[in-house]
Symmetry: C2
Subunit: 337 residues, 2 copies
């Protein structure tokens, strides 16, 4: 009786284990990066991951040190015809205009409200700083997070009509997931505002606020009616672009990434910082070559210019994604998220 | 034959599973916080953790939001008779003195080299800034990490003769581990230097560099002979003390902690920021009450003064650790690590 019970229990347990191993086998066999066409680019990514994760390999990187840094604009989501954050600024100014009748005759607000980009540009750095101050400072961090969340839930891309959070690149979402499955911590390192990205980066990219690095404005702790708040101030603490990207990485992560992903000259120093030491490293540039499904631009583009970094990538053998060639799909299915 | 084989396999598998379940039972039954005496303080910690981790409870906090912030000096390791980083500065100046003969007649170096603390203090803020600049800037981040690692591997506490990394509090090490086992991400939020703590915090506390927040000096990306480096500059980007602690938390973590741990007035704003929202929160102060095993100090101490925060903790019902009463042991066994 005991033997029969044991046998039955053993059989049942074997069934459970068989299912478990089958699930594991399926997971292991499922192709990574399904939206990437087979070819040298996809292979370079997979080869790198296999090298650094294979225990005992000369290029093995312990899990705690597997840091991957991603630019955002033009690398994880579209940046044409204009950075999403700039469109946010324009929308915010329009929303706030009713409280500021003086703006109809005050630059750069007057030009912006008339949709005159040249006029806005003519206001120069001080004009841009004024626009940033009015839209990004003078409120608490909690209030700003609500403003951004509300805006991004409804604002739509001027050309495609999609939500901005649906203008993300499906192949890059798969790349983020693939790296995380292989023990990487994924970070955003963007010229965009840190507080502008954090409210939605976790939902859209799976990247938590503490792994979002971006251009950083001043913050000031205050007591308001006995309740502590953190106010956003107009000063710039970190311009997380070009030389500022390795600085942001060091300040926030404190160790050098093993892999870095960008698409423009603003990412060059981050890639140099990541790939200069010996050992297995992955530096990758997304080259926007697909005028039909997305946009085609590089050396002369006003937004996301890719010129010096393209030369250096070629010279150093970094991986260059040819969007048209390498990506089966560009954007996720609409309403997928 | 097949049946016998199956039965044997089943028996073997049962053995494996039995061991596994036994291990799990032992782990579950092992008391958390063994170096804490039973009592209200230990119970407050455990009650908080149970409340926020119990699925379906009104106070449940999703794992991604379980953030715990720990001050370092006086909370995780001893800060008497002087902050460890100040002793590092003194040792560094002595080491560098042979290259600076002019220091024997130049303040604050002359006083420091003579061991005249009053003379150093008399040099005021500009004198301290000069000492910080000479010891913490003008080298690359990689070079500084080596300097700190070498120093902390051998420097010993002036009173106990222990390595500084053995002057950590065993009960707090257990608390860090207990929180992590319960899904918390543990951060350091210290007035001490971010680059001073990162080289050893992972080994000693299990806290990786990206979860270390501290006072932050300037950084500058440079190319040196074609190799990118990040130089440390003397400017102060964040004074991560008092008002600066919530700012550091927002800048680096981007969400409010659920639990915060400190020991001095420098931690007050961090605790206010953590515990002001409704819901289950844990704010805890380590009160140094044990002159025999450690030090006893609070309202009038020059280092780690605990005055306003002690009043506010009492008024708000925050948890106060009475080191003498609540801790079975203070420091880990020597050579334990």
């Amino acid at each position: 009786m005991a033997v029969i019970a044991l046998r039955k229990y053993g059989t049942w347990m074997l069934g459970i284990l068989a299912s478990l191993f089958m699930c594991m086998a399926v997971a292991a066999a499922s192709e990574p990066l399904p939206s990437w066409n087979d070819g040298a680019t996809k292979q370079a990514i997979i080869d790198f991951v296999v090298r650094v994760t294979k225990d005992g390999s000369a290029d093995f990187v312990p899990e705690a040190q597997r840091v991957a840094a991603f630019d955002n604009d033009g690398t994880l989501w579209a940046e044409q015809p204009m950075y999403v954050q700039a469109l946010f600024v324009a929308d915010r100014v329009k929303t706030l205009a009713s409280q500021h009748p003086e703006w109809t005759s005050k630059e750069p607000f007057a030009s912006l409200l008339k949709g005159d980009a040249t006029g806005v540009a003519a206001s120069g750095e001080s004009g841009i700083a004024e626009l940033m101050a009015i839209t990004h400072a003078g409120m608490s961090t909690d209030e700003f997070a609500v403003i951004v969340s509300d805006w991004i839930a409804t604002a739509r891309h001027p050309k495609t009509g999609r939500l901005y959070t649906e203008m993300i690149y499906q192949p890059m979402i798969e790349l983020l997931a693939y790296l995380r499955e292989n023990g990487f911590k994924t970070f955003i390192v963007s010229g965009g505002g840190i507080e502008f990205m954090r409210p939605w980066a976790e939902r859209v990219y799976g990247i938590p606020p503490e792994q979002v690095i971006g251009s950083t404005g001043g913050l000031k702790f205050e007591m308001r009616d006995g309740t502590p708040i953190i106010m956003k101030t107009p000063d710039l603490v970190l311009n997380d672009d070009k030389d500022g990207k390795p600085v942001g990485i060091q300040r926030h992560i404190g160790r050098r990434p093993t892999a870095a992903f960008g698409n423009s000259d603003g990412d060059l120093q981050m890639l140099e910082w990541t790939c200069s030491p010996p050992g297995a490293r992955l530096c990758l540039l997304v080259h926007h070559t697909d005028a039909e499904r997305e946009w085609a631009y590089d050396r002369t583009s006003r937004v996301g210019r890719l010129d010096k970094a393209l030369d250096e990538a070629t010279a150093k053998g970094w991986t260059i994604v040819d969007m048209k060639q390498d990506w089966k799909t560009v954007f996720p299915k609409e309403d997928a998220r």
